[in-house]
């Protein structure tokens, strides 16, 4: 039996052999060193577990594919040379206290240059870290924006304002639909979306048959909610920005309780599972806002995303059945960040932000867009342009049209502000 603390029987011969192998490999390692040493670290602070994980984890998976593509193409070219990209994830569990710990760790310990978040309930936890350090943060939910934190941007998704595009499309293409009901979970994602849909319905001349039903996020049995929604015989049932865990059982209940009208939802993640719970015929025509990236419409010239069809194929190969609303969104934010960092020649948050907002316009994934939002969010930190209206046709999500959010807002902005105020969602009310 060996004595002492050593676990390996290291003999002089083994030591010399190991040292020789190490010396032989050293030049090769040294040749790779410059590329490996220069790394830009990006924080990914989003829910990776729990009921909101569907809007966090697929985004991280998408980012990893994005990083592979960028790194393979030479990385990010800054003033001091090329840098590889590395994502540092932290699960905020959709909880503000956890988000605060995560933001502090990412910024103070991990040395990240940029932090991407889903936003919503966790944002108030991370906000003091952003304010104190000047770190650049992004959110998918512009309702987090406010003039107090100029380093928070919403460059990909203008949730929930883009929801107006599907209602606008519906009013134009199915004018016979005149009545609607709506339900949503009572939280930071559900409420601004409720205000937005109410504005969109009012602008479209669609009557709400009753007040939106706000349910406790702990709800598991949706039969009573669906029974109540169907009591007045609506033509449209709007599922607002319900989480995936709610959209599926609500759709199943709508199907079982005999609803055969128009379903409208912000998202329809894993819609193949909705089809399995209902039927292909029942889901036909369901409208939402998030395309599959094998959609031919995404090959148009104005789309600012490298090879969306290839990205979709790689994603599905690695994560079969997991494509969702956010699979591409964080990656598209990284496209914007990369372009700005290369323009600035630096990954410093202030320099990147200045480069990103130069000229008041930017290359949003769905076309050229403008930095916008002072009216609604108190600061022009949301990149807003076109957004797709997506329908399920023959069991597959297909983009029906890209619609302009600013154009809708120019016509109906006052209605949106009225409902946002009614639900306490204006920036100066939050």
């Amino acid at each position: 039996m060996r004595k002492g603390w050593s676990l390996l029987p290291v003999t002089r011969r083994r030591f010399i052999g190991g040292a020789a192998a190490g010396l032989a490999l050293a030049p090769a390692a040294a040749r790779r060193a410059p590329a490996q040493d220069k790394v830009v670290r990006i924080g990914f602070l989003a829910p990776l577990t729990g009921p909101v994980a569907a809007w966090g984890k697929p985004g991280l998976d998408g980012c990893r594919i994005w990083a592979e593509r960028v790194n393979a193409a030479g990385g990010i070219r800054l003033a001091d040379g090329s840098h590889q990209v590395e994502f540092v994830p932290y699960d905020d569990e959709y909880d503000p206290a956890t988000a605060r710990v995560g933001a502090t760790k990412l910024v103070m310990e991990e040395g990240v240059s940029f932090v991407m978040m889903l936003g919503g309930d966790p944002w108030p936890g991370a906000q003091p870290v952003a304010d104190r350090t000047g770190m650049l943060f992004s959110t998918l939910l512009p309702s987090d924006l406010g003039p107090d934190t100029p380093t928070l941007i919403a460059p990909a998704e203008v949730h929930p304002v883009y929801n107006v595009t599907a209602v606008d499309w519906l009013a134009e293409n199915r004018p016979e639909l005149k009545t609607a009901v709506m339900c949503a979970q009572d939280d930071a994602l559900g409420l601004p979306s409720v205000a937005t849909y109410l504005a969109a319905f009012e602008a479209a001349g669609i009557e709400m048959l009753e007040e939106p039903i706000l349910f406790d996020p702990a709800t598991t049995d949706f039969a009573p909610i669906v029974t109540r929604m169907l009591a007045r015989g609506p033509q449209i049932v709007c599922l607002d920005t319900c989480y995936t865990d709610y959209v599926h059982p609500i759709c199943e209940q709508l199907f079982q309780q005999g609803f055969r009208g128009q379903v409208l939802s912000c998202t329809a993640d894993f819609y193949d599972q909705i089809i399995a719970r209902t039927s292909k015929e029942w889901v036909e025509g369901m409208l939402f806002q998030f395309p599959d990236f094998d959609d031919p419409a995404l090959n148009a010239d104005f789309i600012n995303f490298e090879d969306p069809n290839g990205f979709f194929a790689t994603y599905n190969e690695r994560h079969p059945g997991e494509w969702g609303a956010v699979s591409w969104e964080y990656a598209s934010i990284m496209d914007l960040w990369k372009a700005a960092a290369e323009k600035a020649g630096s990954a410093e948050p202030a320099a990147v932000l200045a480069a990103m907002k130069e000229g008041g316009k930017g290359p949003h994934i769905f076309g050229e867009a403008e930095w916008w939002g002072a009216d609604l969010f108190g600061i022009d930190n949301a990149l807003v342009g076109n957004w797709p209206v997506v329908a399920i046709e023959d069991g597959k999500a297909r983009i029906k049209e890209f619609r302009s959010i600013p154009a809708w807002y120019d016509r109906h902005g006052e209605i949106l502000k009225k409902w946002m105020t009614e639900y306490g969602q204006m920036w100066n009310q939050r």
């Binding site: 009921p51 406790d216 909610i225 865990d245 059982p249 209902t278």
Partner: protein
């Protein structure tokens, strides 16, 4: 309006059915073991995951997966009895804390085995019983109602009409006196744990295709189950069934006609009102409380 009321009544009947299965199991365990089993919601969750593993992933028939789920969760109950509650038999607080630890282990096991995201389970049946144009009951919901009626009736007969049922009740009423009469306390404890856990497992397995199956799904049911056993009278099986129906009907009707959040508040107010009027609960006795 009549159809609306009838549909709401069916929704309430379904909720009452699965809640009574869970609450009766919880009461049975408390009655015999004298332990508040905080992991009972996770036993419900374990039943649901059996359906994920065997039916959704393993392509086994749904009812076979439910039966396997009942047995598996019953065995988990036996494990809890042997490893946690028996060594802590004279320490009710210790049993409670141990059950909280077991709860976390089960949640972590589910997360490690199946991931943290909602599990997709194909519907067990898409058939819907159309009673009227707007009064419908999906077949899987009907199965839950039937299963609850059959299992609770069988349990009642077992407890009232069999020698072992008498022994179980005697053990629940006075453990020492029962032991002096030659009743094996260990054996009654094992049977109570198996049946109590299996009832929760069956509830989880049967409802799995209709709810979001995730590692945290036990939280919501355990709160309702605690309200029910307090309203029914801690230790009273009949009280648990009556309270489950009262709670489910009040909660469902308030959620449908007013608001789901108000329904939660009304559920708690119901518990407070019963405790003020009858501190021992609807069917509880001073000894049990």
């Amino acid at each position: 309006m009549v159809e609306f009321l009838a549909q709401t009544g069916l929704n309430a009947l379904y909720a009452a059915s699965y809640l009574s299965l869970i609450a009766v199991g919880l009461v049975l365990i408390f009655g015999v073991m004298r332990v508040i089993n905080f992991a009972h919601g996770e036993l419900y969750m374990a039943g649901a995951y059996c359906v994920v593993a065997l039916y959704a992933q393993g392509r086994a028939p749904f009812l076979a997966a439910v039966a396997a789920g009942a047995v598996f969760v019953g065995l988990l109950g036996l494990l809890m009895e042997r490893a946690l509650f028996r060594p802590l038999r004279d320490n009710p607080l210790g049993g409670l804390v141990a059950s909280i630890g077991f709860l976390m282990i089960l949640q972590a096991a589910a997360a490690m085995g199946f991931g943290v995201r909602m599990q997709n389970i194909p519907p067990a049946s898409q058939e819907v019983l159309v009673i009227a144009d707007r009064v419908r009951l999906a077949l899987p919901r009907l199965w839950v109602i039937i299963a609850a009626a059959v299992l609770l009736s069988a349990l009642w007969l077992f407890l009232k009409r069999t020698r072992f049922g008498w022994a179980l009740r005697a053990s629940a009423q006075d453990r020492e006196a029962a032991a002096l009469q030659g009743i094996s306390i260990d054996r009654t404890a094992r049977v109570a744990m198996f049946i109590g856990a299996a009832l929760a497992g069956i509830a989880g397995a049967l409802t799995a295709p209709m709810v979001s199956v995730n590692p945290n799904m036990g939280h919501s049911v355990i709160i309702s189950a605690f309200i029910i056993i307090i309203v029914g009278g801690i230790g009273s099986l009949e009280g648990a069934v009556i309270a489950a129906f009262a709670y489910a009907f009040v909660h469902t009707f308030v959620a449908t006609f007013a608001d789901a959040v108000i329904a939660d508040i009304v559920g708690l107010l119901l518990m407070l009102a019963v405790l003020i009027v009858r501190p021992t609960g609807l069917m509880g006795t001073r000894d049990r409380a």
